[in-house]
């Protein structure tokens, strides 16, 4: 398996606070229309941080019904929906209820790799609540399959009959970026013809939201749409978001052979571990992931047109990431545009990477960058070329996508507009 194949994206699925597909997402992205609002699904008054980027109430039930699926756990359900959307978009599945499995030969060689930070959070919360109220004897007998982290990928494999392998990557906020990178490597080196990869996350349960609230990393801003402000001097943390995304990665030859529409190309992937601290980021670790990705793509820093930053909006992340970007690009005299998508989507933790990767793909396709909508006073310590507050038309061809997780796991993808 020493071959090296081109890896392309032929299907996209997306659920986010910006809507139930990537078309609605891109309209709102370029209009500067944030998906952040006041926390609805929990009693916001109980928390210090009261902003959230949640799915609109009808989005998930409508999407499940369209595929003829019943609800089990919010994270797993979202993964199933975006998996189905991506397969339909890739032309591997017919749209509609009780969607059948992908065609036999394709299903045999299609793997599923999803990232998630916490797995089926809602099923876990329900189980904890039931245990506390009724004791172990009366726990639902299907608690194990509902709550295991790999239900997120397994249910997609089962629902759509994909038999090329399936597992979940857990590396906090870089989970789905690592999932895409893993899928990329599998196709690149011929271990799989197709990998359905992505991520899903919803931590809007009382216990988990309280846990994040008590960690003190979420914004307490009183105006929801202005709360997530990466690289701004007045930033005070991130806004928790929920959602899921999926990409069908495929070898270029396989995509061409079946006449698939190619949306983008994955050009490289890099990863590193800080090996220093469970929550504090490291510029050296982040720079290493970016450099590894450039090496993987065989590209110099000057080839990158824009960096979609991890850009959480915490004091520590943005300052560290800006330093790391400057380390990678500054010495090469390169100055890519830098923006974060989190003011729009919130921080989707394990699903952030894939949702922001989809935002990158759409920006590459349309030659337009969404900007940093809440960058009212750029932090002078962040010495990178930050996009302005509104969308601009730019002749962009190649993007870098960064994701950095608690635990020190760093991951970077290089994505390109597809050129034959």
């Amino acid at each position: 398996m020493n071959e090296r194949r081109r890896v392309v994206v032929t299907g996209i699925g997306l659920l986010s606070a910006l809507g139930g597909d990537d078309e609605r997402m891109v309209e709102r992205l370029f209009a500067g229309d944030s998906g952040v609002g006041r926390l609805r699904s929990l009693d916001a008054a109980k928390f210090k941080s009261q902003n959230a980027a949640e799915l609109a109430p009808d989005v998930l039930p409508t999407a499940l019904a369209a595929l003829g699926l019943r609800a089990t756990d919010r994270t797993t359900d979202m993964a199933l929906v975006v998996a189905g959307q991506a397969l339909v978009a890739a032309g591997l599945l017919q749209a509609g209820p009780a969607a059948p499995a992908a065609p036999g030969s394709l299903a045999e060689t299609t793997a599923v790799v999803f990232g998630t930070g916490n797995g089926p959070s809602h099923a876990l919360q329900e189980s904890w609540d039931a245990y506390a109220q009724k004791g172990g004897r009366l726990l639902r007998p299907t608690t194990v399959p509902r709550c295991m982290a790999n239900a997120v990928s397994s249910m997609a494999s089962i629902q759509f009959g994909l038999r090329g392998g399936n597992y979940v990557v857990v590396s906090s906020c870089s989970s789905s970026t690592v999932a895409i990178g893993t899928g990329y490597r599998s196709v690149l080196h011929g271990y799989a013809d197709r990998v359905l990869c992505g991520g899903s996350e919803s931590m809007f349960t009382d216990a988990l939201y309280s846990s994040w609230d008590n960690l003190g990393v979420m914004s307490k801003h009183q105006e929801p749409t202005r709360a997530s402000r990466p690289f701004d001097v007045d930033r005070d943390g991130f806004v928790l978001g929920e959602g899921a995304g999926a990409l069908l990665l495929e070898s270029l030859d396989a995509a061409k052979a079946r006449g698939a529409t190619i949306r983008a190309e994955v050009l490289g992937f890099g990863e590193s571990s800080d090996g220093t601290h469970i929550t504090r980021p490291s510029k050296e670790g982040q720079a290493k992931a970016m450099l590894q990705a450039l090496r993987s793509a065989g590209l110099p820093p000057g080839a990158i047109d824009f960096v979609n930053a991890h850009g959480t909006g915490t004091k520590a992340n943005d300052a560290t990431e800006a330093e790391a970007i400057a380390m990678v690009f500054g010495s090469a005299g390169a100055e890519p545009w830098v923006a974060s998508s989190k003011p729009f989507f919130g921080h989707l933790l394990g699903a952030a990477g894939v949702v922001e990767t989809i935002a990158c793909i759409r920006q590459l396709e349309l030659g337009r960058l969404h900007g940093n909508p809440n960058l009212e006073r750029p932090d002078p310590a962040c010495t990178v070329r930050l996009c302005g507050r509104t969308a601009t038309t730019q002749p962009v061809r190649i993007a870098m996508k960064n994701s950095f997780g608690f635990g020190g796991g760093n991951a970077t993808l290089i994505l390109g507009r597809y050129e034959a």
């Binding site: 003829g68 209820p97 009780a98 007998p141 299907t142």
Partner: protein
């Protein structure tokens, strides 16, 4: 409990636990439970939800011989009126 009420509640539980979609309002006493997408794993949830809904306790093996919705309604009717 009226038999129609038992059937109504069973339809609601089956709609939550079955692995396939059906027009649940048309499901009647002669339909077999297996034909409605209640596989062995879904059966665990189905039995659990019945016990919660009807406030009865029984072991799964007590359902041997119960294959249709009507037979299950008869079983529950006996348990809830006992």
């Amino acid at each position: 409990m009226e038999r129609s009420e038992i059937i109504h509640r069973l339809r609601s539980i089956m709609a939550r636990t079955a692995t396939t979609q059906h027009d649940w309002e048309r499901v009647g006493e002669t339909d077999t439970i297996a034909s409605l997408g209640i596989d062995s794993l879904a059966m665990l949830d189905f039995v659990y939800d019945i016990q919660q809904e009807f406030a009865v306790q029984f072991e799964a093996h007590e359902l041997v011989g119960v294959s249709t919705v009507g037979q299950l309604a008869t079983f529950l009717d006996a348990r809830t009126t006992a």
